[in-house]
Amino acid sequence: MRIELVKRPQHSILFSALSPVVALILTLLFGLVLFALLGRNPVTAMYIYFVSPLTEVWQIHELAVKAAPLILIAVGLSVCYRSNNWNIGAEGQLVAGALAGSILPVMFPDFQNFMLLPLMMIMGMIGGALYAGIPAILKVRFNTNEILSSLMLVYVANLFLDWMVRGPWRDPNGHNFPQTIQFSDAATLPAIFPASGRASWDFVFALVAALVIWFMMEKTLKGFEVRVMGQSPRAGRFAGFSSGRIVIFSFVVSGALAGLAGIATVSANINQLQPVISPGYGFTAIIVAFLGRLNPLGIVVAGLVLALSYLGGEAAQTAIGISDKTASVFQGMLLFFVLASDTLIYYRIRIVRSRERAGEVVHGHS
């Protein structure tokens, strides 16, 4: 007896919807085993991990703080990925956005009025978009591999930020430490409900971005163009769509959103530039984008789930003393099971007894 994967004639709508649920259940089951192996009561551990962060108002705020940049970036990435453009460099675009958005509060600290925050956000978006434009233009003009060029530009951006905060933008009164001056209150993105926690307007930006991108992808010609060029560039060309324009468009959109995430998180949570401004949001957002099935609304849910896994990881560290690596293991398992469950959309499982012939058999999946 053996188990085979048989290609479905059409992809299964049922499993498209079920796959993330199957993945989540499998992750939880393996999580229980993991905690049991670590010698902790698995039910208590699960409760602390996945429920306790939702029982207190401040933690819900923290959930929004953590999820906002992930959602913003992942929504942008979904446009790229659905048009078959592999932007891996959102982390660098985030940094570029943070730098561009910080020009006003760092170089013109006396410029303080109601225009400041909107200008900072817009400059952040422009910074991210321009920076994402580099791999896009390289791809269109020279057919460069955008996976490599966008990824390598992450290191360039990080080193540039490092140089800026140690060099030209260093706070002259900061004891020579690598950081810029503190942003003024006028340059600080305010909390939505300051009385109960620090969740700030970037979470609202994230929700709006998700809605706008969802509308664009599903209801407009541009969205259709993006999807067609992603699925079949040849068919798209017959329809008169330009592949170069789509490459630029999708990179610019995702770069702008990553840049917005960068300046928003700096303005709301850090209040200055320093050598490290992101705990890898740009990379984690790739997981979020796929977990949300490249659908902006799914990405909102996925961003919250992933943020929960970070918060739960910290709660589990302090409450039952398990290593911070557990959170990474959980995220890894979740992504692994999502990709594995996705197999069921295109393939069905068939159990073959003895030497029956198996029709069209595909081992593994492409």
């Binding site: 401040w58 620090r198 705990p279 302090t318 911070d324």
Partner: protein
């Protein structure tokens, strides 16, 4: 479903019970920037935490968060600890200063301590170590032990703490051998075993036969061991990684300070401090046993250590800046405020400061 609900209720009760139990103990908490298994900086802070547990037994409860990055996540780490009943929280990295300060303002009843920073509040003190004292001793040992008169030094970032230590190392070395040269490699990271090992190999290839480091991994020590040269350990005693290489190590001995601060907080006598601890303060800056050197070198090192413990400052004039302009007059001692903002090399250090 019913069973699950039951289990969840039980779990809630359990969590509530542990919280209640914790209430009568004094809870002290730590936030680490690295992993406690790094055998360096965070490892040593965690040794301090374990010393607190040992000193007060079941009167205290401790907890920690490790690998907390110095960005938007740091504030949440402090907020969590403050809300989970910690009465005294130690933030152990410079980059935690502003997030910790913000949380301290929000939780006036929780006491905070921040390592290596400069912002204080009614409920937030700062503490730091005078690592440069140990570096001076190391410089002297290096100059005595080196046969090539060339030392190698692997460093992270040009912040005051690091420059202070380079200067002290070179001042120490030149006090015994004016021809001693120190080659410096910047790896732009606090913890990057790969880069640190590469830097160590490059320095040895350039003739260095004594290595020092202001980065946290044990990589350079291991390279020194295999290449048969000497090295100084950093943050913790790295003798296990270089049994034939290590001359001594600059050990961060936070334990006595942590024990005294937890005690003060328990007794209600805690006040925000701004301390800069050195060899004389219960060996907060500790030199690991002097090994792999002759007895006269060891005697010299011990004498210098004693002199510093007696209150002598390695930054005592006359000392010129690198370009020859006078900095400290004969007998003049550097002010702490100048040291803490140090942004220049002293005379004798070669190479330009990275911009």
């Amino acid at each position: 479903m019913k069973k699950l609900l039951l289990a969840l209720t039980a779990a809630t009760a359990l969590v509530a019970a542990t919280n209640a139990q914790a209430a009568d103990k004094f809870k002290a908490c730590w936030v680490y920037v690295g992993a406690i298994g790094d055998f360096g900086y965070s490892f040593q802070h965690n040794q301090g935490r374990l010393a607190v547990e040992k000193a007060f037994g079941d009167k205290v409860e401790t907890t920690y968060l490790e690998n907390v990055s110095e960005g938007p996540d740091a504030e949440r780490a402090f907020e969590r600890l403050a809300r989970e009943g910690c009465k005294l929280v130690f933030g152990t990295s410079f980059g935690f200063m502003d997030p910790e300060y913000k949380v301290a303002k929000r939780f006036p009843k929780v006491l905070f301590e921040h390592a290596t920073g400069f912002k204080t509040a009614k409920n937030m003190g700062v503490y730091n170590l005078r690592w440069y004292e140990g570096r001076y001793v190391m410089g002297q040992i290096a100059a005595k032990v080196s046969k090539s008169h060339i030392g190698g030094y692997i460093v992270s970032f040009p912040i005051p703490e690091v420059l202070m230590d380079i200067n002290a190392f070179v001042l120490g070395a030149h006090s015994v051998d004016p021809n001693f040269k120190l080659k410096i490699v910047w790896v732009n990271s606090w913890f990057d075993p790969g880069k640190e090992a590469d830097a160590a190999k490059a320095l040895i290839d350039q003739g260095a036969d004594v290595l020092g480091q202001h980065t946290d991994s044990t990589a350079a020590m291991q390279v020194a061991e295999t290449r048969g040269v000497h090295a100084f350990g950093q943050a913790s005693d790295m003798i296990k990684f270089g049994p034939h290489a290590q001359l001594t190590a600059l050990v961060d001995n936070w334990a006595p300070y942590y024990v005294s601060r937890v005690k003060a907080a328990m007794d209600g006598t805690w006040k925000p401090d701004n301390v800069w601890l050195g060899i004389k303060d219960d060996h907060a800056v500790e030199l690991a046993p002097f090994t792999n050197m002759s007895d006269d070198v060891k005697a010299m090192a011990e004498a210098t250590e004693k002199k510093i413990a007696g209150g002598w400052n390695p930054f005592t004039g006359p000392i010129n800046k690198q370009d020859g302009t006078p900095w400290l007059k004969d007998g003049e001692v550097a002010k702490d405020s100048v040291l803490l903002g140090m942004n220049f090399y002293v005379q004798g250090v070669e190479g330009a400061l990275p911009k």
